[in-house]
Amino acid sequence: MRLLAPAFKFHFKGGRRTMILSVLSSPALVSGLMVVRAKNPVHSVLFPILVFCDTSGLLILLGLDFSAMISPVVHIGAIAVSFLFVVMMFNIQIAEIHEEVLRYLPVSGIIGLIFWWEMFFILDNETIPLLPTHRNTTSLRYTVYAGKVRSWTNLETLGNLLYTYYSVWFLVSSLILLVAMIGAIVLTMHKTTEVKRQDVFRRNALDSRRNIMRSMTIPNGSRRCFSSGAGGPPENYKETFKRWILCSEYRDFPGLKSNIDKLIAFLSPSEILFMVHTFPRDFPLLEILEPRDIREIIAHSHKQWKPPKKGG
């Protein structure tokens, strides 16, 4: 690279290239600093746009025409616009003027010094001078012929490789964008948007068998004659229920036959049915539990449960 660090005496030995370089990179550096220091958050999102423009100019200087055209499209058109959306959505207030910046100095100073040291660690070769020198490198005239060779454009070289040999990478990058799209929809689409939605109540009604059984054991929604509240239950409903359950398909549940008397004493039939369906194998355990505990268990498990008004 025939770039000279700018000399203090303003002699442009390098010609146009250094002028373009310095004209483009100094606003980039200043805008980068202003991103952090701007008071208005919208300003601090607009300053990277300036950085991106300068960067694409630098890319043109390096001879990469395709990247210089694509990079504003991607950086400004997608990235800066996303930042603007975020700033717009979150309603960020203007930052305080008297911000205690010096509070961060010890730790951030150390981290900054570590980064600075790493930079020197990497750039340890002599082709990049640290101090301005007056080396004259413009007398290489033979490179004029290099510009007269007809070669492929940037676009052609990229396309020649990207779509043939490295096409899988291209497809994987498109998958990354697909995931970003799916993610945005999964995470943020609420059911109240008009475009496409699912009907929540229908969806709940179509749920599992457990839900159906739950809805059948609610006292007010049930169709069983034991627990409908009209006119109160008949007097010997407990005997009928006990007879029914001992001949029904539940009779083989472990522990049901031996415990049914104890349960009938303080639980209503709908509650017993609920327990049978939710904890089919745990009936022997109910011997050691108090009635109060059993009611707590039912109350925890059945979110729509309201105990019947009359006792048991």
Partner: protein
Amino acid sequence: MFNLFLAVSPEIFIINATFILLIHGVVFSTSKKDDYPPLVSNVGWLGLLSVLITLLLLAAGAPLLTIAHLFWNNFFRRDNFTYFCQILLLLSTAGTISMCFDFFEKERFDASEFIVLIPLPTRSMLLMIPAHDLIAMYLAIELQSLCFYVIAASKRKSEFSTEAGSKYLILGAFPSGILLFGCSMIYGSTGATHFDQLAKILTGYEITGARSSGIFMGILFIAVGSLFKITAVPFHMWAPDIYEGSPTPVTAFLSIAPKISISANMSRVSIVASYGGTLQQIFFFCSIASMILGALAAMAQTKVKRPLAHSSIGHVGYIRTGFSCGTIEGIQSLLIGIFIYASMTIDAFAIVPALRQTRVKYIADLGALAKTNPISAMTFSITMFSYAGIPPLAGFCSKFYLFFAALGCGAYFLAPVGVVTSVIGRFYYIRLAKRMFFDRPRTWILYEPMDRDKSLLLAMTSSFITSSFPYPSPLFDLTHQMALSSYL
């Protein structure tokens, strides 16, 4: 060389299946004519089926391994190592998907895209394991991480889940940047991204005096980025929060699958590309620190999922010791550790959601599990003892082999530290078992019975854990073959 589509037919299949599932889920769940059916379980079973068919395709493609070493022109290289790693990955993914069904039913979860976002990172991990190029590695890591950010935050009603997702985003995007910076440093210093070319360039790296610091920084950054992704210790900052806040099947997926794929990838990078013990000190330090932290930090936890996160960090530390010594035994012990770690973790994460009555979060709720649910108490304690490394179980097997390999390569500080931290961590696991078997709780809690898929999964993995000690030779042979072929 070869652009053989047959070689990538598992990946092609799984990606097509993902697209078809996505379209199916979207089209049918919004059609008014069919009454907006909830398609989560439907898509879930189809997703599980597609993962299993991918497994079959992979197994059917095994003869291809013998004819050519390099497929797809600078993209990846397949051999026995990648073959079995991919099979393990697909099996763990199938296990995780089958854990999800109960979760959907209990939580009334209705986003069918959740399922689509599980085969998608699986495919990228299938590409990451045999990846033989820096760009391929980065693309696959990025795709996998993006999917995980989304599914970690997918339980929208819970603030924990959102917090987990955003923390995972920050914890994951930053190391992707570091990784890419390392890749670009290496490319800038050597002009090559393909691992074969890097291996040729970096062969004399340590022997000759000409060390380019760009290469060194590049390898360092790549190692740091990969260590971030496995949540190894100096870089594990928010991993327990992420593990706790995500929905449980996501946590299961998150603690198994990336670790498998990134460990495999890292061993590829370190063996093939950087060809020498450049970063051995870093890996040693990370593994020691992970083991210590995993043992100590799990003691102060009161919730159920966070100590599982800490124990997985600690176990990854043990696995990292196998990796730090660069020998074949080291890689073999790494692979044994990963196989056993995968089955133990599937076990642990299959029991935890089954114990939920009203979202069991605290350990005190596990009290007297032995009386209410003796079989799941026993399975849970088998898993915990296997994590602790108690002899007749598989965890002891893997730890024994790991320390053996560490001693064999001369890491005389690492093995005693590992043994001591293993003993310290054992306190915690035994405390869980004590809580389950011998404590009397304040209120008795009954748990709902476990569903069929999870119980099948638990049966398979716990039988693997218990039978691995008396008959470990299939596992040992398999991993020996894998380790040998990765050095070819």
